[in-house]
Subunit: 322 residues, 2 copies
């Protein structure tokens, strides 16, 4: 590293990102976080590790944006408006000034897109892989956070966007023969698009909600468990993009693959039958597809049903961290 150390790095790269007054220019031991009256703070934290969640040669700005966005996606699924984040950065020995500059540029771009500010954190040298831990904060109207545990029996299950694109993008990066949609699939893997705007509009509609990181089935399984109910998903209704169909096909097996591949960063939510019209209106208003894919029933567990209505055997519900 040619910058003379931590203080230069903070001054040159990170202090300009500390836009909120409570960040105190990153020149204090702690930050002051303001929460408007009548709102409640929603907080989440996620770690991305070189060689596990991204590769050393991935563009630095995309790594930064992915690290931030996986957290913003959690906030989106809770109906929260994103506001602030704290960054703990463990720098591998291969990281140089130009990498850090680009990393900062990625954060700056997303701060503008999502209206968030860096508030603090820690920067340390590590003998190991580059490791990025972000704690992100947002706010919701007090008492209105959309929990995983709020599903009702009889609710319909919806999901935003398309499922499996990121998993297909990773397969393409690993050598799967790709269609013309190669670039868009890889992009879905490298750069999630958290549904922050749409998420906030789910507050009056959704009973329960989760963002899809481990896999549609795994994450809806968490909703089923937290709500003490069963969720069934129709394979034929899992929304697949043209790119995923070209790579994996469009039958139930392809849907199962998509629904267990993870990294989608879409929102899956449950809402009562009577909210169908409002959900359709929200889709029109935001321009984001929202598909009805299943329903909540008494019982427990989660199943993916084939065309015959039979539960498909799945090797796993999604990504396991270890």
């Amino acid at each position: 590293m040619t910058r003379s150390g931590e203080f230069d790095l903070i001054r040159d790269v990170f202090a300009p990102l500390a836009e909120a007054p409570g960040a105190l220019g990153l020149a204090d031991d702690a930050a002051l976080v303001h929460i408007p009256a009548g709102r409640e703070l929603v907080v989440t934290a996620d770690t991305l590790i070189e060689g596990v969640h991204f590769l050393m040669n991935d563009p630095a700005d995309l790594i930064a944006r992915k690290a931030l966005r996986v957290n913003l996606s959690d906030l989106a699924s809770k109906g929260a408006r994103p506001d602030y984040y704290f960054l703990c950065l463990s720098l591998a020995s291969w990281v140089d000034d130009s990498w850090l500059t680009r990393f900062g540029e990625g954060l700056a771009a997303d701060q503008k897109s999502y209206g968030v500010s860096l508030m603090g954190g820690d920067t340390t040298a590590t003998p190991g892989p580059l490791t990025i831990s972000i704690t992100a904060m947002g706010s919701v109207e007090a008492g209105r956070m959309i929990k995983r545990s709020g599903a009702h029996a009889g609710d319909l299950v919806f999901v935003t966007g398309t499922i499996g694109d990121a998993g297909a993008g990773l397969a393409v990066l690993n050598g799967a023969s790709a269609s013309a949609d190669r670039g868009s699939l890889i992009r879905r893997y490298q750069l999630p698009e958290p549904r922050t705007g749409l998420g906030q509009k789910l507050v009056p509609l959704a009973h329960a909600s989760v963002d899809i990181s481990d896999g549609l089935m795994a994450d809806l399984g968490h909703v089923a468990a937290a709500s003490g109910l069963r969720i069934v998903v129709d394979a034929a209704r899992v929304p697949l993009s043209e790119g995923v169909r070209a790579l994996w096909g469009s039958n139930a097996t392809a849907a199962a693959r998509a629904a267990t591949s993870g990294d989608d960063y879409e929102i899956a939510f449950t809402a009562p039958y009577g909210a169908r019209g409002a959900v359709a209106a929200l889709s029109s208003e935001t321009g984001i597809a929202i598909s009805e894919i299943g329903r909540v029933e008494p019982g427990e567990g989660i199943d993916l049903l084939n065309e015959a209505g039979r539960a498909m055997p799945l090797q796993s519900l999604g990504f396991r961290h270890f």
Copy 2:
């Protein structure tokens, strides 16, 4: 690892630590953080890395407590009451069940001591060293956080406890010939004692405050810079323990060593001359020594003065992260 994975680890080790209702049993995408009316949220984050901040063979419960306490020390120096923390844990391949159990026991003990609750986080396997990032939260009466930037020219400079013990403990671990105080010096290095109670009582007294992690001189240098003033410290008044005196002596050179060795997790603060009585009363009330060590002057920078009142040349002001 013999536990079957992340979910078992969360259920067995971490969910019991999620005592606050807003943690939602660690079973949601995010936590709800409650801040009482009239108070403001203070947030800090720090990372500890195996081989940098602790060693693989250090007791797991002490590693956990140190990781938590370095954050609580930042909150203490701001006058904040500690409330919550988020834990991002990147697990090295050598970590086993019994290590994790002991790690959780360390956190449980300190949650009881300091009145804090785990609220969330992320657990991931890493191909590198064990890495622990904690984001801690506390609260202060709105508008009353003690900043680094609040020093006034004419303020006196005070410090709690004794300085250099942790640095001497590290020297002993590295083979320095030790006195009878070997154990207590090592303990100061392995297990900081953040001044959380005392820190909250500084709110009506202190103009500026910092916790000593990098070194007394380095951290008071931050106060000087943030306040746009100069700070001078008298070497003869830097409080040294019996153990440090036995190892390093008690002259100005020993004081310089202590004042630049770091990891003290004491609080250095500035207060007006008129607060001397209140500071002495606070020391009596808490049973924690508070020493007057210097003063704030117009100008810039920080100096350690020898017996002749001359600025001592220092190789560095304290620990640099890279």
